[in-house]
Amino acid sequence: MKKVGKNMKLLHRAPQSFHRVSQTMIVGFFTLFLVLFFFLPSQSLAQDESRYILESFRKKMEQIESYSADILIKVEVSLIKIKDRKAKVTYTKPNQFDFKAEGFTLLPKKGMEMEYMKIIDEGYTSIYVKEDTVNSLNTSLIKVIPDNPEADIILAEMWIDTSTIILHKMRTYSKNSGSYTIHFYYTDHPFDLPDKIIVEFDVKNSKIPMSFTGDFESLDKPAKKGDGKGRVIIQYANYEVN
């Protein structure tokens, strides 16, 4: 009798638990609905918008078949003392850069070779992040993740003025050379090529071994301290664009 009584109780409970399961399912479906109808489309829209901006930018830059310019390179790194150097840069589509310098020149690893074009050309996933102000200009901040897993740059942030499709700032995070922030400054070139770029990067404040310097006076001196940032300022002049 006892057993029968228990089973009876279970039979009474069954509709209640079924009711609970169906309630949970409804909530779950509703959440999924919300995600599908509100969140994903906004993500998709963000990607579409950022892609649209980047593709517009690519189209504009692709009009340049080649260019050459005189450049003046100023290196501001606490560990290095070098006078401003003149060089000539030649670019040929799609991604060939040639530098000819007077004497020994230090060229920043990122910033001078239109890395953004390589990222865009090799395929990417992009996200529109927000509106942002760079040099008092309204820009759109877009995060770009290169599709190529072998690429050195793993993430790039690009600040593009959507009204003119001009890139004003870019930050890259790379596997081998840390992060770089590149500021682009323009005046009035037909293809919106920069007149000046400032490349900023992290530098280590390391001390050069005395065995290399032969500088006994430096034995008890600490390593030269800077702000931990390196800067290279490149000024462009005499553009010849084809």
Binding site: K100, F104, K207
Partner: protein
């Protein structure tokens, strides 16, 4: 004056008749040859190692292995190698005569002892000058001939890059300064030579003083730090000041003045002592 010039010519004749005089030139030739061979075969590896600190952030455009680099490395021999070669001849100038027993004969001539010493020192200085000149011409000339010209990288507390067009005057000034330093070394060996009747003593003595003081004051004791600014050995590598981006004129003038003071002191002591020296050999 004419008598002094004649005396200098005689002393030069004596210097260049001795085989040991050519040891200096031969040694410098070998040192420069070794440096050039080392740079030719291993220079790039060394540079790659040094520049790896910058490699993370920069591409390099241009050549740093060139004749100026060779000359800069050659200049570093002014610390130890060249002082030994200078002392080898200048330490023998007075003691050599005593050792050979020719002083009595020389001093019977109607020439004052002071004039004789001045002539001897100037002859020794000429040898020193020729040695440094040989070093400069061979180092820079052969270096540029083999490796060409280019910018110079100098490692100090910072990595300094000097453009090629600035380097001729910097090297000229560095060699001129090096010449002053070697003149002080020559004066030291010359002074010790006046005290001795055997040339080995002044030669080894001069070298020992230079190496000894350099080691003690460099690695050394904290109390040496207060003395360092007054030691001439502290200023032997002073030519490196010309490879600073901003040359500290005050420091440079002080370096020159301290060395000139030592030069005058060494020569003064030698002259004062030798004037009253009892010539027994």
């Amino acid at each position: 004056m004419k008598a002094l010039i004649t005396l200098i010519r005689i002393e030069l004749f004596k210097i260049f008749r001795k085989g040991r005089t050519y040891i200096g030139f031969g040694a410098i030739f070998l040192i420069i040859f070794a440096i050039q061979a080392g740079i030719y075969f291993e220079g790039q590896n060394v540079f790659d190692f040094i520049l790896q600190q910058l490699e993370q952030n920069f591409f390099f455009e241009g050549n740093l292995i060139n004749g100026y680099l060779i000359t800069y490395i050659v200049l570093n021999t002014l610390w130890i190698h060249v002082p030994i070669l200078v002392a080898l001849v200048t330490g023998d100038l007075i003691a050599g005569e005593a050792n050979a027993g020719t002083f009595r004969l020389i001093l019977t001539r109607p020439v004052s002892r002071v004039k004789l010493l001045i002539a001897k020192f100037l002859a020794g200085w000429t040898y020193t000058f020729l040695l440094v000149l040989f070093m400069a011409i061979l180092g820079m000339g052969m270096g540029i001939l083999i490796f060409g010209k280019g910018d110079l990288m100098v490692l100090k507390s910072t990595i300094n890059f000097f453009p090629a067009d600035e380097l001729p005057w910097r090297f000229f000034a560095a060699f001129a300064y090096g010449m002053l330093s070697m003149t002080v070394v020559a004066a030291l060996a010359f002074m010790l030579s006046a005290f001795s009747d055997n040339s080995i003593g002044p030669i080894i003595g001069a070298v020992a003083i230079i190496i000894g003081i350099t080691i003690i004051s460099t690695i050394g004791f904290s109390w040496m730090k207060t003395l360092n600014p007054y030691l001439f050995t502290s200023y032997l590598p002073g030519w490196q000041q010309f490879f600073e981006f901003d040359i500290n004129k005050g420091k440079l003038i002080k370096s020159v003045l301290v060395q000139l003071s030592y030069l005058i002191a060494f020569l003064g002591v030698a002259i004062v002592y030798f004037r009253k020296k009892d010539i027994l050999s």
